[in-house]
Symmetry: C2
Subunit: 357 residues, 2 copies
Amino acid sequence: MYGTIRIERNEQGKAIPAAEQSLGFGRYFTDHMLLVDYEEGKGWHDPRIVPYAPLSLDPAAMVFHYGQAVFEGLKAYHCVDTGEVRIFRPDQNAKRLNRSNERLQMPLLDEDFFVNAIQALVRLDAKWVPQKKGASLYIRPFVIATEAGLGVRSSSRYLFVVILSPVEAYYDEGLKPINILVENHYARAVQGGIGDAKAAGNYAASLKAQALAKEKGCAQVLWLDAIEKAHLEEVGSMNVFFRIGREVITPSLSGSILAGITRDSIIQLLCDWGVPVTERKISIAEIVQAYEEGTLEEAFGTGTAAVVSPIGSLLWGEKQMDIQGGGIGELTQKLYDAVTGIQSGSLPDSRGWMVSC
Amino acid sequence: MYGTIRIERNEQGKAIPAAEQSLGFGRYFTDHMLLVDYEEGKGWHDPRIVPYAPLSLDPAAMVFHYGQAVFEGLKAYHCVDTGEVRIFRPDQNAKRLNRSNERLQMPLLDEDFFVNAIQALVRLDAKWVPQKKGASLYIRPFVIATEAGLGVRSSSRYLFVVILSPVEAYYDEGLKPINILVENHYARAVQGGIGDAKAAGNYAASLKAQALAKEKGCAQVLWLDAIEKAHLEEVGSMNVFFRIGREVITPSLSGSILAGITRDSIIQLLCDWGVPVTERKISIAEIVQAYEEGTLEEAFGTGTAAVVSPIGSLLWGEKQMDIQGGGIGELTQKLYDAVTGIQSGSLPDSRGWMVSC
């Protein structure tokens, strides 16, 4: 299974974006990519790092028809303490990718191989890791079904791919609060569905509500549970936290929510700091009540792309609820500084979250 | 927009499976495929029929990551009356593809172009249309997002593809009743979701329940609504009908059910025949009651692949409900014969369902 990773170098290489150039998110890609094939009976085999190039797939490849496609997102940082490149909690992404694989009837990957292969790829393209404050190298592992066939069933062949993209800090000029629309009509996922898997299909299902939110001046939607339309799930593609009085709360992992790795990191930090944090069901009614009683102190989203994203206001029907007067809460800022400090190497990594390449 | 379809012939051609060879479903593909590009600001352009060949896509193509992929399925038949090739209700597939496109924030296709392009492709590969009774040429149109980028939003580029596959009659030796598991845990779709779109992601979400049903000796699952787990939705990838006493009932299009074209055809036929047919909410409790009272006369699934598929038994928890003693109901057989008769040209097409190439 697997075997040694063969490396075919990209001798020409592409131009690396200049330091002053805007990177955006997922627009530039590095010189190399990792590929591993899977075939029923043979398992994962032929791991190789090759020049970044188009994939050639039969038009009947099952990923195009029946959507077996799962992915992960994590980041490598140029760390300011020693100058080395480190990756944030890749073992957690390996575990979650396998949970997604399992849910979509796709083959599991060896989790150590996943981490080692990403380390090897990032090492080879290390010169692409941006040094600008807040910027990083975004790592996108994904698995797609490649068997050519139109019967509705699990594919017998897959491709595991990792690509790398130098990305900007999500907020170039520091944190910026966003407006959020509480979504009351469309649903992203439901109990018994695949909402807790990082599956491509979940994202396609979210685009329409997202576009309608934009039209109302909101950056993201806050999804409610699909059954009662009462309980909070997640914000766009982030998990969500609220501070009500002294307590921090976040929706528990109900089965239709993605188990964010930044979410988990935030909970650990709060516990370490002695801030009361609870994972539980949270209704929108409770949030409205806290807002009206003046105890809704802070709200923020968490995810790999933005790390921590302050929520400036919630739009719920006709009701607009401003939080922190549309500004950034103290705890929100403190959490952002703590996580990005560990990631960039400016704060000590006492939890062993950072993995060197 | 669009322009003339350019044709690049496959001069070599592939070997067409011999008449006695088993075709299966979606395993063989013809000599040509249709491609049309879409780009924001430019619209759909460069329609072309080219030799069937792999697609070359950037590894960051959005279809691999955020699942914007919708498809259709329809069939062309070698008709026994005049020997010409005809397609079953392609205008309905054009309409439904656009409803799927709309739901997934993808660009609409001109519906006349859709039909004309498929006619042109089938004409060119007409020698691939099987002449064996019950066999047909399966037509698979699909649209995928092709922009290379990792921001979560609608793609600015798409590819519309049509491929063709000669397929067997679903049941080689005539109709065969199947066992169905009533699924009580997993969900395929929910109100406000994308269950009424023919989106790739819906199929990936169904595979696990499908695999578990197989382990229990069932060919498909019967999905219940995701909210109350009480009302019937669809069977695997088919719509479902029941005959209780003299009345035929089928779940109404609630928003989480695919609007099947065979479903619509069956309803029209029943109306024409004066058989009472009702589209409404149907609970599993009602089916159990009818079974126990001895009025559950027939049950069948409908879809493009199998046309009409008799249900021999329903497994609901520990309860197994045999229908027609596991045999084929009279009305089920009559509907199958009527639809396949129109499709094959052995019965008159008084409704204008068949479109010549």
